[in-house]
Amino acid sequence: MGGTFLAASSALGSVPAVLTPLIASAILLAVRAWIGVTGVPLSRRVSLLLDVVITILGVLFLTLVIVRFRTIG
């Protein structure tokens, strides 16, 4: 399935490809907010990891949106 998914670069602009990092980053943002509000103690490393993952997912999402604009726009 992964091979089929990546067989065409235009598939990167498909709805599932764009939606996946969108949902993932939204979930992690919700977790981050929950941690911040409730005061769950996190080590600096975990805290940094969370922020880096959210940033990477956000950048991935934006990249896929641009790919989507270019391939079907």
Binding site: V15, V18, L19, L22, S25, A26, L29, A30, R32, A33, W34, G36, V37, T38, G39, P41, L42, R44, S47, L48, D51, I54, G58, F61, L62, V65, R68, F69, I72, G73
Partner: protein, 621 residues
């Protein structure tokens, strides 16, 4: 002048009571004048100046009484938020309710088209793909269809007429909350709220997604500024040294709440989480409802973050994800093949400003005056705000950042020539508060000891300030009323015009078309997607009378509607002769059309071949 509360011990109770009765008397007298003005106004006598041409002197007298009472109340020592709310509500009724009360049906063609979109969703349960760009952001229409069904109405038409007043009154609560959290003095807060309404000439409060989304914008900002601010108890001792420490430093400064900073929130964690979730939900709803507002929200949240007024950057990230996500995935119908519509005007500042300003200063002398006054109002409020910026000594420059943030939109999108107006609208709550700060500076002055303030009404101690504040507010209010209704000569409709449209809807069949010379008609509220609409003006070589007639005859729609609103548009904006519509009527009658129904302000024509066919069909039936 310091804004601290006046000591009650020095105030004679009877003088307070008399002053309260006097100020409320101003409000009651103003309402009485408004009722007289509205009951005596005759819609059919509306001139080129629009609504202002039919309201009479009692309206202006009422507005003057209202503004006088408001400023009297503002300058008194005995403060009451409730009385200020009463005055602002009456001011909103004057400015936004007068047209609703006088005009027989809802104005603006777009509000009728939006009612048609709501009707389509109500009947089919989904939006119509590929029909109209606005259907690519159907959230507002879906919400309206839920509201229509919930209230047991058959259509959204019942909401159209009074929607502007209703939505403006809904803006009041978040605007007051923003003012409360702005850090300006009490008097500047309420004057800012009044200035927000009295300078809002931008007619975006009709039945539309943008009207609803502006409420979303205000609610998000009000919630962020009042409930979701970071509150530090101690300063962070930034770590020094390694790369990771440097990253931590940047991260803590702009993004992450550091562990060793204690955040004090005014509400429990559960309430805070609920508020964050609700704000994120509103941002998502906005992303699905309107093209521009989500980005205005994002810019405003960035302004809050930069000025350290946003305690939860997750909200900003969620708003950005929702806006870009919907544009990419939900509005595909809109941008496939039309990417230039979205990104074509990025960086085209000159052409955007030209489309937003220069191209609007056209038409008859009266109409150009109206447009000039709109520009003057905007320039005056920004000038006053600039003075306020210089006079203020705030703890944070959030208001300034929020007022400036929407201007980024101008560099990105011309928005069909309306971008600059929207920029002014999105900045207006903050610009109004800055302008109010110019008149009520929060800088403390020590010329009068706190304990030696005069009792009773303060305005007698400050007659000059009373005149300046009341004069400014009255000038803004009158000017805004005039220019808001300045297009009503052709954007407001008569019952005859609505009857003509309904006649067509009752007789037209799916697949047939109806044509108008220009879209100023109460049309589009029924059979969305089933009827072909044709507007002669704007198609090739049809900007002259002969050109429009030729276009109508070439297109040969089943029905043509000619009306007084269309005629006024032609004489006011296109400088056409007064009888230009009669020329088109004569041309159509001699080229196969037949007048089927006529009202004093509208005429319906039908293709003669269709008349014969329909008659035969009716006879055989």
């Amino acid at each position: 002048m310091s804004d601290g509360p006046a000591p009650a011990t020095l105030r004679a109770p009877w003088r307070d009571l008399a002053a309260t009765n006097a100020s409320l008397g101003f409000a009651v007298a103003a309402v009485a004048c408004w009722l007289v003005a509205v009951s005596h106004a005759q819609f059919s006598r509306m001139g080129q100046l629009g609504l202002a041409s039919i309201v009479g002197t009692s309206f202006v007298l009422g507005l003057a009484l209202l503004v006088g009472g408001f400023v009297f109340e503002l300058l008194r020592g005995n403060r009451s938020d409730v009385r200020m709310v009463v005055f602002v509500v009456v001011l909103a009724v004057f400015l936004f309710g007068t047209a609703c009360a006088i005009e027989p049906v809802a104005s603006l063609e777009s509000s009728w088209v939006h009612a048609g979109f709501v009707q389509y969703i109500l009947q089919h349960g989904h939006s119509l793909s590929g029909y109209d760009a606005r259907f690519s952001w159907p959230g507002g229409f879906s919400l309206a269809s839920v509201l229509v069904a919930f209230t047991g109405q058959s259509s959204a038409l019942g909401f159209l007429r009074w929607f502007p007043l209703a939505i403006e009154l809904m803006y009041l609560a978040p605007v007051v909350a923003i003012a409360r959290s702005s850090g300006v003095s009490w008097r500047a807060q309420w004057l800012g709220v009044a200035l927000f309404f009295s300078t809002n000439w931008i007619y975006q409060d009709y039945f539309s997604p943008q009207g609803l989304n502006y409420l979303f914008f205000l609610v998000v900002l009000a919630t962020v500024l009042t409930c979701l601010q970071p509150q530090h108890r101690q300063r962070v001792a930034w770590p020094q040294g390694s790369l990771q420490d440097w990253m931590d430093r940047v991260r803590r400064r702009f993004i992450r709440r550091p562990h060793h900073v204690e955040f004090v929130v005014a509400q429990s964690p559960a309430v805070t989480l609920t508020l964050i979730a609700l704000v994120a939900l509103i941002c998502t709803a906005s992303a699905m409802s309107h093209q521009l507002t989500p980005y205005a929200i994002i810019l405003a949240l960035i302004a809050c973050l930069v000025t350290r007024q946003l305690g939860w950057p997750e909200i900003l990230a969620a708003a950005a994800l929702a806006a870009v996500g919907w544009l990419s995935l939900g509005a595909t119908d809109y941008w496939i093949g039309h990417l230039a519509n979205i990104f074509g005007s990025v960086g085209q500042l000159h052409s955007t400003l030209s489309a937003n300003v220069t191209s609007r200063v056209v038409g008859s002398a009266v109409h150009r005056h109206v447009v000039d006054v709109r520009i003057l109002i905007t320039a005056a409020i920004y000038l006053l705000a600039g003075i306020g910026v210089l006079l203020r000594r705030p703890a944070t420059r959030t208001l300034e950042a929020l007022a400036a943030a929407p201007f980024v939109l101008v560099g990105i999108q011309s928005y069909g020539g309306e971008g600059l107006m929207r920029v002014v609208l999105f900045g207006l709550p903050f610009v109004a508060l800055l302008a109010a700060s110019a008149l009520f500076s929060s800088r403390p002055r020590s010329y009068r000891p706190e304990g030696k303030r005069p009792s009773g009404p303060r305005l007698f101690a400050h007659p000059v300030r009373f005149v300046v504040v009341a004069g400014s507010l009255l000038a803004f209010s009158v000017a805004t009323f005039v220019v808001r209704g300045g297009n009503d000569a052709y954007e407001a409709f008569s019952t005859g015009e609505l009857a003509a449209v309904n006649y067509v809807y009752d007789h037209i069949r799916p697949g047939q078309g109806v044509a108008v010379t220009i879209y100023y008609m109460p049309i589009g509220q029924r059979d969305t997607g089933a009827i072909d609409y044709y507007v002669a003006y704007g198609s090739a070589q049809s900007t002259t009378v002969q050109g429009m007639l030729t276009a109508l005859l070439q297109h040969r729609t089943a029905y043509v509607i000619l009306s007084e609103s269309q005629r006024r548009w032609g004489t006011m904006l296109e400088d056409l002769p007064a009888n230009w519509e009669a020329t088109i009527l004569g041309g159509l009658l001699t080229h196969g059309y037949q007048a089927m129904a006529s009202w004093r302000t509208a005429t319906v024509l039908e293709l003669s071949t269709l008349v014969a066919h329909n008659s035969a069909h009716a006879t055989s039936g």
